[in-house]
């Protein structure tokens, strides 16, 4: 998995081969480099993002074909000291995969990911509040996924929400 994505586009990960002489070191590449590749496979799903091979031959492939269900299952429940559930947040491993996928999409080298990036104003506002960019995106994508999940509950007619909204205006 990716350990970091920096603002200049540098990505870092570690070799998973315990016997690799570089196992303790961080591997790095730039998101615009040709060795960071989006690999579509046969069928509608199954795509991955291939990272450059380590010198020992180990190669890491990042998941790039998320479904809404997989992202919803990839969330932490945040609880307070009393054990009360305070909310959910998407795990950073998935956040970094989505961010790199967006970076490749903006370069024209990958299709659009499942969940959109926030608007520039929204992202700037979150960053101005002191949130690291990965945490800000984790909050944003959690909001996007859970917000849509609420509307998609069985038996909930979204037209009722629109009627109620118009009545309140």
């Amino acid at each position: 998995m990716l350990h970091a994505i920096y603002e200049d586009g540098t990505i870092e990960w570690a070799c998973t081969n315990e016997e690799c002489e570089f196992a303790e070191a961080r591997l790095s590449a730039h998101a615009e480099h040709a060795t960071v590749k989006y690999l579509p496979v046969s069928g509608k799903r199954g795509a991955v993002i291939a990272l450059p091979q380590c010198l020992c031959g180990t190669q890491t492939f990042l998941k790039a074909d998320y479904t809404r269900k997989e992202l919803l299952s990839g969330m932490f429940r945040v609880v307070d000291d009393q054990g009360q559930e305070r909310g959910h947040i998407l795990k950073l491993g998935h956040v970094r995969n989505l961010l790199l996928h967006h970076m490749l999409h903006l370069q024209g080298r990958a299709p659009e990911p499942l969940v959109p990036l926030p608007s520039r104003e929204t992202l700037v506002r979150m960053l101005e509040n002191g949130l690291p960019h990965e945490v800000a995106l984790a909050f944003w994508w959690t909001h996007v996924l859970i917000g849509e999940q609420v509307v998609m509950l069985p038996g909930f007619d979204s037209r009722l929400l629109q009627i109620e909204t118009r009545a309140n205006i």
């Binding site: 998995m1 990716l2 070799c15 998973t16 081969n17 690999l39 496979v41 069928g43 799903r45 199954g46 795509a47 991955v48 291939a50 091979q53 020992c56 031959g57 180990t58 190669q59 890491t60 492939f61 990042l62 998941k63 074909d65 998320y66 997989e70 992202l71 299952s73 990839g74 932490f76 795990k91 491993g93 998935h94 995969n97």
Partner: protein
């Protein structure tokens, strides 16, 4: 990492059961490791040689999969294998034949990160 066994007469702790649960349902930050071997034949250059590697862990969506060819260097294949279709149930390992050959092989370690 080896699992702990419970001795008859000792209390079974939550940690004893949870170590089994975590094998079948990896938590974020955990990894599953194992071996794979891709074998097949290629009827023409570029023919697909593929296998599906089921994971022990279920329900948890993985973040990444890493493979190497430390056990069997690629033979009869255009390049080292790649992975795809990474899901909570496993992943695909595939490569393309480098011609008409009856013996395409590659094998090594895999690591799934959750």
């Amino acid at each position: 990492m080896p699992l702990n066994t419970v001795t008859t007469g000792n209390t079974i702790l939550a940690a004893d059961i949870n170590q089994l649960v975590q094998v079948l349902q990896r938590a974020a930050g955990q990894t599953e490791t194992g071996k794979y071997h891709l074998g097949g034949s290629s009827y023409t250059n570029g023919a697909l040689v593929s296998m599906y590697m089921p994971s022990l862990s279920r329900t948890t969506a993985p973040v990444s999969a890493s493979i190497d060819t430390s056990d069997t260097a690629p033979s009869g294949l255009q390049a080292a294998p790649s992975t795809g279709h990474l899901t909570a149930n496993g992943f695909q390992v595939f490569a393309f034949g480098s011609g008409t050959t009856s013996n395409c092989n590659a094998g090594g370690n895999y690591t799934i990160q959750y």
